[in-house]
């Protein structure tokens, strides 16, 4: 059998599913322990920064890093009192959610048209969309800065959202196209015969069935927007500054405010942790889809 057949003849995660059965036990073999050890060790930097965020400021710059101390929340408190972090957090949340929403709506509709209907020149469109993913952001950062300056869009929500949607739309369309292709056409034909209009079919049949795919795409868009730095750095100043930019600002010319920085990092990472634990299945699906297709 060909490679393609060998890989796809089994349901995509059959062995992964087998791994997930509860009947399995954890036998302390070398491999099993090694696996746990490696993963645990890999995440060490995450523990360290989380630990650091709970240390009293006095201890942080100590040449001797300590492991035992009385945890304190003073770093976090300082963030919110002295550095207006609540507003920054709000900025990031609003920008991320709005971008996500706009991307999903546009991407689902566009991907549906590409996947289902014979669009003239669709191969060219698809290829062009894919090529946008390879563009170094710095290439378009410059014209955007100049243009946004002229349009008074610097330091606004809209300014960033417009750009983030443009950045994420290509990959979102690409992902959704893959997911939509997996929805059997017969379902839509049955709905057609049942009397639904095309828009009704999309809303009542296709979207519910492809919801896991939408979740994966939404996660990717959210993560990208939440973590994005270059554009936010260039296009924001005070009013709409986002979390990553603010974190970097703690690195000041003569000192680095590690205490507040680590607290800010933790806060920035927490939503990602939530996303991972709630939606890990969708993330893996999304990643593998992006890679294989």
């Amino acid at each position: 059998m060909t490679a393609q057949q060998a890989i796809s003849s089994a349901p995509a995660h059959d062995r992964a599913a087998a791994q997930a059965t509860k009947g399995l036990s954890f036998r302390p073999t070398l491999g099993n322990i090694g696996a746990v050890f490696v993963v645990g060790l890999w995440l060490f930097p995450v523990y360290w920064i989380a630990l650091t965020s709970l240390k009293p400021i006095v201890e942080i710059n100590n040449a001797v890093p300590i492991f035992i101390f009385t945890p304190t929340l003073e770093n976090y408190r300082e963030l919110f009192t002295k550095f207006d972090f609540a507003r920054v957090l709000m900025n990031s949340l609003v920008i991320a959610f709005v971008s996500c929403f706009v991307v999903i709506v546009l991407a689902v509709l566009a991907a549906y048209a590409l996947a289902r209907m014979k669009v003239p020149g669709e191969k060219h469109i698809a290829l062009w969309i894919l090529s946008l993913r390879f563009l170094p952001p710095i290439a378009v950062a410059i014209p955007f800065y100049i243009q946004w300056q002229d349009l008074n869009l610097l330091d606004t929500y809209a300014g960033l959202i417009i750009i983030y949607v443009a950045f994420n739309l290509p990959f979102a369309i690409w992902m959704m196209r893959g997911f939509l292709a997996d929805v059997p056409v017969a379902l839509e034909e049955a709905a057609l015969l049942d009397g639904l209009t095309r828009l009704q079919i999309i809303r009542r049949i296709v979207v519910p069935v492809v919801m896991p795919g939408i979740a994966s795409t939404a996660i990717f868009t959210f993560v990208f927007t939440w973590n994005e730095y270059l554009m936010a750095l260039m296009l924001t100043a005070f009013k709409s500054v986002t979390v990553p930019v603010t974190i970097a600002k703690f690195v000041q010319p003569y000192t680095i405010l590690w205490g507040q920085l680590s607290a800010a990092v933790v806060i920035q990472v927490v939503p990602m942790l939530i996303v991972v634990f709630l939606l890990q299945r969708h993330i893996v699906r999304g990643m593998t889809l992006g890679a294989v297709k």
Binding site: R15, W42, N62, P143, A166, Q268, V292
Partner: protein, 297 residues
């Protein structure tokens, strides 16, 4: 001779619906990607200073040829390639090893897989600064541990020899899980019948891996490598917060060099030229890879 397709009216209407669905997204992308791209290219061929926008003039290929005379540019180019290929090579090797390690029937394997996604989702800014903290010369954890073990220590992020390796280390830390997870998925989607047939044929675990599984996941592997290479060449955030391109220009990757040229010196023309060199580099890479990919298909 094909029979002329006389489309019933309802099918013609459906075509209209398709264009309406596709339209907004495409128009949006056209406006926001084609326009800046062309504008950016235009800037690259002009003398364009951010601080004297009234003095814009046509420069032909000057911005590009000036780069060839610039030592910093050449260093930046080399640094970028060294960074990209080293990081991806390590990510591939380590990622593969981890994938093999995690490909086992074990209670909690799923949990481990979930935990491994975390580094991928953390912003490079956050992780870059975390590593900067760990690698800090005087008070960083690593320095402390090395000294305690009486091992020689270095200035890490401010050292000329160690700055780039440290940045590579941070990138590897963040992206190896990505490679590992994709390879793991690829490995696990190989049909069990194929691996069972291999077992019956007498292959050992190791042989199964090298001679059966690896060739089957080769397309996935190549795509992952391509994606990582492209993203590494475009990298900006990590190096910006960790070393700012220093010390000297030992970690000044192309994206950073472009940024500094544009926003510190204000020379947007050159900055654009540098950015476009990066674009060309990426496209060459993609072309090479696609040819490679189609040859092995």
């Amino acid at each position: 001779m094909s029979v002329a397709a006389r489309l019933p009216q309802w099918q013609r209407r459906e075509k209209l619906v398709a264009l309406l669905l596709l339209g907004p997204a495409v128009l949006y992308l056209l406006a926001l990607s084609i326009y800046p791209t062309i504008y950016s290219l235009w800037i690259a061929f002009h003398n364009y200073s951010l601080y004297r926008r009234d003095l814009v003039s046509f420069a032909g290929f000057d911005n590009f040829t000036d780069l060839l005379d610039s030592d910093i540019f050449k260093q930046s180019f080399v640094v970028t390639l060294v960074f990209a290929f080293s990081a991806v090579a390590v990510e591939l090797a380590l990622g593969f090893a981890i994938a093999v390690l995690l490909d086992r029937k074990m209670r909690g394997a799923n949990v481990l897989r979930t935990l491994l996604i975390i580094p991928v989702l953390i912003s490079p800014v956050a992780m870059g600064l975390t590593f900067r903290y760990i690698f800090a010369p005087t008070y960083g954890l690593l320095t402390y541990l090395m000294k305690s073990a009486h091992l020689p220590t270095a200035d890490w992020t401010v050292s000329v020899t160690w700055a780039l390796p440290v940045v590579i280390f941070a990138d590897v830390w963040q992206w190896t899980p990505f490679v590992a997870l994709i390879l793991l998925s690829g490995m696990q989607s190989v049909s069990t019948e194929v691996t069972e047939a291999a077992e019956l044929d007498g292959l050992t675990e190791w042989q199964k891996l090298w001679r059966i599984v690896l060739p089957l996941i080769r397309p996935v592997l190549l795509v992952v490598v391509l994606i990582r290479l492209i993203d590494s060449i475009r990298m900006f955030d990590l190096v910006f917060v960790m070393t700012r391109g220093g010390p000297g220009s030992t970690t000044e990757v192309l994206s950073l060099f472009s940024y500094v040229t544009g926003f510190a010196s204000g020379d947007m023309g050159s900055a654009s030229a540098i950015a476009w060199v990066t674009v060309v580099l990426v496209n060459i890479l993609v072309a090479v890879f696609l040819r490679f990919l189609s040859k092995t298909a």
